[in-house]
Amino acid sequence: MTKVKSLAELKAMREKLQNSLDVREKSEHPESLVQVKVAMATCGIAAGAKQVMEHMMEKAEALKIPCVFTQTGCMGYCHAEPTIEVRVPGRDPLVFGHVDNNRADEILEKYVQNNELVEGIIPVNYEVIDK
């Protein structure tokens, strides 16, 4: 290890390191962030959810959208996999179906950033238990 020689260096180091704790930091106060839940059950994974999640994480970082990504189980929309739920602070959660890389980009750029509607919204038909 090399020595840290000033407060500025320390802060720069923190910036660099912060990434690795990002996941934990964000989950401390998820209500202030965009929460994206990716349905990652067998059907989702089979439909490419994993790859879409990775793509979306990169895109969000590139767009500097503070996001917290979690995986969740089957949401029941197996016909529309991969499905994701997006919760933007101050808005009701929305579920999108048939999400591929393009739609993922659209969701982030249009819905999240500009509150424009995007295709593929699935009407919510259940109650969330973990309030």
Binding site: E9, K11, P30, T72
Partner: protein, 604 residues
């Protein structure tokens, strides 16, 4: 650097470690590797989460899933279900004791809801053996700020303005302590961290050192800068091997980064830390005794003045603060005194860590703002009394504190209010008692501890506490007199008035506070020879209900004292004569009760 999608935090504190949490970590690592998830999932061994009642704890981020009482064999299910399929494993989730519902998210657990974590900010969140994780949470930036933007006087002014008071028990204003030490000119000064945690049941200092050792190291360096010391010493009891290991790792890493040693952060300020091990004598928590012990002398207090700020370790000005006090310091510097000042009550600022124990549902370590009420702690965070029994008292402040009752439940907790109620903050032990606790026995328990741990230097503590203990023993054995109660009070008053150090002066508190609040129980023991809680064995008698007893004789066979014999009485409907206990022979072991299937034996 690989970016993990999921972080699995496993508690590596002493409590969870002893429940096999290291095996849990091993299992996670091997199963994650087996499922090829090593790039997605990171496993971190953290410090204590505080919820020790439910340990070992596994927390999964970012969805804040809080798994409790995890066994090594549960790991496979967590990996398969949660990590791979994203489904939480319901039966491992925390269950709300009130409505029996699973709580999937720690944000929604009552245990954490009312807590504000300052001293424990990184405990259970970072890997304490990796300084990078600490730095990424802003670690050492407070030190950097002090060194590059503040004068020592400003640091002290900030500490004074924050209103932080010593968390070791007495509540002396920290900033003022620093200022007193800073004023004394000397070629060498010392910053001493008191990690000789000794109150029965208190383990916050250990948890901080195990979970976030860097916070203490950083604070000691800040203190060194403020008072003009270049040497730090941590006096830690040798019975804390894990905390010692983590401290050693942290000190080594901090040195490698140049956060300890010479010319820290290019400021020209030098500071380094050494560890000193204590043998675990309670009295060495008293600062003068601690210093003598570090010097290789007998660990016993000496009179103040001179205060350590004038003549401490090796006769040099020294500043002694406890672990939790130090852990607050970096946050105060970073966020400012004003921010800290807003938390707490008028005279007691910030938060306090309590070790919650006793007859309470959620045993563990909590950090709450000063001014919270006992009711909130016991019923909300603590989840109420075990088995739905009735609350009787809560003992705060360990052997130096006292028992608080129902009438104190809504008092906002701070140094002054606890003192006024006949107890004290102490280091933050909080033992909750219900109707199964005998208050005379409780007083005796704490006094026995003090007797054991007294250094024996002054008469009131050496002989006085021994005599008080003997009187209490007499009372619990049913041989007490009303004069004994009088003697007890006089002795307690004189010991409080004359003992040399804080240990002795506060040792009568458990007796005085129980006498104040539960005099009826004392009188019952003395006059009626009765212990209502059924704790004092000598005052109990085992009785067989001759109408219920079927005369099977199992109790007689199991009695180690041959105290049970047959009578000639056969109860209506029974075929064999009932049994009877000879109270002269009975040793009150209780073997008969646990052996009787018919519930014929009871304790009176």
């Amino acid at each position: 650097m690989a970016k993990y999608k999921l972080h699995v935090l496993v508690c590596g504190g002493t409590g969870c470690k002893s429940s096999n949490s290291l095996q849990i970590i091993e299992n996670f690592k091997s199963l994650i590797a087996k499922n090829n998830l090593q790039d997605d999932v990171q496993v971190i061994k953290t410090g204590c989460f505080g919820f020790c009642e439910q340990g070992p704890i596994v927390k999964i981020m970012p969805d804040n899933t809080f798994y409790t009482r995890v066994k090594p064999e549960d790991v496979e299910r967590i990996v398969n279900e949660h990590l791979i399929k994203g489904r939480k494993v319901p039966d491992l989730l925390y269950t709300n004791p009130e409505n029996k519902e699973h709580v999937s998210d720690s944000k929604h657990m009552d245990f954490y809801k009312k807590q504000i974590r300052i001293a424990l900010r990184n405990c259970g969140f970072i890997d304490p053996e990796n300084i990078d994780e600490c730095i990424s949470r802003g670690g050492y930036e407070a030190l950097g700020k002090c060194l590059s933007e503040m004068t020592p006087e400003q640091v002290i002014a900030e500490m004074k303005a924050s209103g932080l008071r010593g968390r070791g028990g007495a509540g002396f204003p920290t900033g003022l302590k620093w200022e007193l030490c800073a004023k004394n000119k000397a070629d060498q000064k010392y910053v001493i961290c008191n990690a000789d945690e000794g109150d029965p049941g208190a383990f916050m200092d250990r948890s901080i050192l195990e979970g976030d050792p860097n916070s203490v190291i950083e604070a000691m360096a800040i203190c060194g800068y403020a008072i003009g010391a270049t040497k730090g010493l941590i006096y830690i009891r040798a019975e804390y091997p894990l905390a010692i290991d983590r401290l050693k790792i942290a000190i080594r890493q901090a040195r490698e980064y140049g956060l300890l040693g010479e010319d820290i952060l290019g400021s020209g300020f030098n500071f380094d830390i050494e560890l000193r091990y204590g043998a675990g004598a309670f009295v060495c928590g008293e600062e003068t005794a601690l210093i003598h012990s570090m010097e290789g002398m007998r660990g016993e207090p000496t009179l103040k003045p001179p205060f350590p700020a004038v003549s401490g370790y090796m006769g040099k000005p020294s500043n002694v603060n406890n672990v939790e006090t130090f852990a607050n310091v970096p946050v105060i510097i970073t966020k400012g005194a004003e921010w800290f000042n807003k938390i707490g009550t008028e005279k007691s600022k910030g938060t306090k860590v309590f070790a919650l124990a006793g007859q309470i549902n959620n045993v563990g370590l909590i950090e709450v703002p000063m001014g919270i009420t006992l009711r909130e702690i016991i019923y909300e965070i603590g989840g109420g009394i075990k088995g739905g029994r009735k609350f009787k008292a809560v003992q705060t402040g360990g052997p130096s504190g006292g028992c608080l009752t129902e009438k104190h439940l809504d008092t906002p907790i701070d140094y002054e209010s606890l003192m006024a109620a006949g107890s004290m903050m102490g280091s933050g032990g909080m033992v909750v008692m219900d109707e199964t606790s005998c208050m005379v026995a409780i007083a005796k328990f704490y006094l026995e501890f003090t007797c054991e741990e007294s250094c024996g230097k002054c008469t009131p503590c050496r002989v006085g506490n021994k005599r008080m203990c003997e009187i209490l023993d007499k009372i619990t054995k049913g041989n007490g007199t009303m004069k004994d109660l009088e003697d007890l009070r006089n002795l307690a008053a004189v010991i409080k008035d004359t003992a040399l150090c804080g240990l002795g002066q506060t040792s009568p508190n458990p007796v005085l506070s129980t006498m104040d609040n539960f005099m009826d129980e004392y009188i019952e023991h003395v006059q009626d020879k009765k212990c209502r809680a059924g704790v004092c064995k000598s005052l109990m008698s085992y009785v067989i209900d001759k109408e219920v007893c079927i005369g099977c004789g199992k109790c007689a066979k199991g009695c180690p004292a041959d105290a049970i014999t047959k009578t000639e009485y056969i109860a209506p409907g029974h075929k064999l004569p009932s049994m009877v206990i000879n109270s002269e022979k009975c040793i009150k072991c209780g073997a008969c009760i646990s052996g009787c299937k018919f519930g014929a034996i009871s304790v009176k």
